[in-house]
Amino acid sequence: MRFTLSEEQAAIRDMAREVLAAESTFERVRIAGEARQYDSELWALQRSMGWPGVAVSERWGGQGLGLVELSVISEECGYACASTPLLGTILAATSLAGAASNEQCERYLPSLAAGEFSGAVALMADTTPVPDAGEAGLIVVLEGSGGHVSLQPAQPVETIDPTLRYGRVVDPSAGEPLNQSSIAYDSALVVVSAHQLGLAQRALDLSVAYTSVREQFGVPVATFQAVSHRLAQAHVELTAARSLVYQAAWAVEVGDSESSAAAARAKSWLAEASRTVTGSAIHAHGGIGFTWEANLHWLFKRASMLGPYLGSARQQRGRLLEMLGTARTSSHETDHS
């Protein structure tokens, strides 16, 4: 067993971290957020690096990498709070790869992989605002027994997170039907969880840096345990988060029998941890943390928006329990047979 990123995967992470540190500064995120427009320069760069198609098969013009690599990219985009439609686009591409027919893949995946149009993924009968649906060219609607893909425009929704263009699907059952597939949904959960992990990790790193230099009572505030223990606890929670996200990425990718449960666990954990840790970061910065300029709010707002998206923590726990129950019954059945 080897539960670490491979050298190649770590190299992808380092490269993405470096590129985004330069090209998705908080200054750029703020400009995009204030204008309520994507950072088109960054999107062009991401397209030129092939990110929308990282996990799309080479046959459809992608790079043919797996869900672990895609999660690495998604995490780094969360870390940088990048303001581009990449999240929705990779979600749509991954979902289609899981649920579309060959013919549908051929029709849609090359354009998604090239970022010629962006995508978004929604759930049937769910009114949660969908990230990147506001301007998406292609919408995938997933539901238990299959779903639909359509080129219909979504109804834009202005949310507390202006760095992504959210929307609601107008007619979820419009468009072409997709095959039944749990892989599509599981992969989407993993990609969103990885993004949330990145948001939270950034918030923690910023808090560590700030509280180490901000002085009160003549000492760095991080020397107070109320501060340092909060950050230590956040680190423990993100350690758990990282284990859950990357195990889920691996499990879904290889089709492990635990994959759906793993994806539900990851999403449940991150829905809560991402909001808690980004929220704690605001607190750890004091008054500055509550300002527009401190930039922590971008992380907190996106974490808050993604929490309920594709099923809240509570809903994921409900799903998990059902799966555990089923696994239990079927293992009893095999035991008896």
Binding site: E8, A55, G98, S212, S228, Q233, S243, L244, L321
Partner: protein, 393 residues
């Protein structure tokens, strides 16, 4: 793309892979078959009998060649990777077999002596640990030195080629059975606290030692008080040089926390399963609040298992054990305590009747945030050594 058919293209040989390797599978099968033939049965209820039962289990494991997976073969171990050691714990848990007794020897004293001990010490002490011919305890904590281990006051005064020890230890687990004690003493009061410490191997049959079992809140006695009245220790029993006791003690503690994290962390699923079976058998999961809390605990338990495996992988790739054991120990104690509280609440009034297994777990879990370094101290370690925050005092 599908379920990964296209994903494997052009990968390097060393990829993330959460399935067991061929070696790990072979070991798992071998050990699983072995346990099936040698299972020690269910534990005696008396704490002392339970200890000796677990000690006998260590002997049995040793006869099978499984007592010290992680020790190099030159010392009688299997020279196994940390991951194989994890497989060992997973299989023990799966079979409902206990973690063998004398873990202070096999997981703490052994690795410490391997790192810091003299050739003679290695030859003399290591092999008998695995045969359970000698049993070990850990004499670190004192009434005035718990979290603040560097404040140890038990004094060892040099006298020729011996040291004369006076003072007191407390909370010394399994000292009532022990032949040897890992003893941290002060040997120099004139230097900074943690520079004046020396680490010894103390022969518990030496004259001048008084052992007094302490009754714990479970009603049982695992830990003890130890009193030293002019106890003589030969200088050849110093581990890692006079004045170097702090660093040697840190080695022991690091191994202790990794062991708790991996060994007990992986095992927590057994308890979760017992709770789940009870809930299902009594239809309690139909209550959505109970169901939600249970699912949350399931996720915490899985996150702990996975984090243990991930840290083992990372330590293996790096080639050393680090402070990350503290994170696992924190996760374990927190999840264990929550699970025990949840069980008491959901099982109902019978759970708290004297002698109930639920009550025992509930009470025992109270120790988990204290033993092996309190959660507060571990958060200090995460803050200082892992996050690199400026040090608190």
């Amino acid at each position: 793309m599908g379920a990964g058919a296209d994903h494997g293209v052009g990968r390097a040989a060393v990829v993330m892979d959460l399935t067991l390797s061929a070696d790990e599978l072979a070991f798992r099968d071998e050990f699983r078959a072995w346990i099936a033939d040698h299972h020690p049965g269910s534990p005696p209820s008396n704490v002392e009998e339970r200890y000796y039962w677990r000690l006998e289990w260590l002997r049995e494991l040793n006869r099978g060649g499984f007592a010290a997976m992680h020790w190099p073969s030159e010392f009688g171990g299997r020279g196994a990777t940390a991951m194989l050691n994890a497989v060992f714990f997973i299989e023990l848990a799966r079979a409902g077999a206990p973690i063998p007794a004398n873990h202070i020897a096999t997981f703490m004293a052994g690795p410490t002596i391997m790192q810091w001990g003299t050739v003679e010490q290695k030859e003399r002490y290591l092999a008998p640990m695995l045969r359970a011919d000698n049993v070990w305890c850990q004499g670190f904590s004192e009434p005035g030195a718990g979290s603040d281990l560097a404040a140890v006051a038990t004094f060892a005064a040099r006298d020729g080629d011996e040291f004369v020890v006076n003072g007191q230890k407390v909370w010394t687990s399994e000292a009532q059975y022990a032949h040897f004690c890992l003893l941290v003493t002060r040997t120099d009061r004139s230097v900074a606290q943690h520079k004046g410490l020396t680490y010894f191997i103390l022969d518990m049959s030496s004259p001048g030692i008084t052992r007094r079992p302490l009754r714990q809140l479970t009603g049982e006695s695992e830990f003890n008080e130890l009193f030293f009245d002019n106890v003589r220790i030969p200088a050849s029993s110093v581990v890692g040089e006079v004045g170097n006791g702090w660093r040697v003690a840190m080695t022991t503690l690091m191994h202790e926390r990794s062991m708790i994290g991996a060994g007990y962390g992986i095992r927590l699923r057994n308890y979760l399963t017992v709770v789940e079976e009870h809930l299902r058998a009594h239809g309690l999961l139909s209550d959505p609040v109970v169901a939600d809390r249970f699912a949350d605990l399931e996720i915490r338990t899985r996150a702990l298992e996975l984090s243990a495996l991930r840290q083992i992988s990372e330590a293996q790739a790096r080639g050393s054990v680090g402070s990350e054991g503290s994170i696992l120990k924190l996760m374990w104690s927190e999840t264990y305590s929550r699970l025990a509280e949840f069980a008491i609440e959901t099982v109902g009034p019978d759970a708290l009747e004297d002698g109930s297994g639920w009550a025992w777990e509930y009470l025992r879990s109270r120790a988990s945030t204290i033993e092996g370094g309190t959660s507060d101290i571990l958060r200090n370690i995460v803050a200082d050594r892992i996050l690199g925050l400026p040090r608190a005092r």
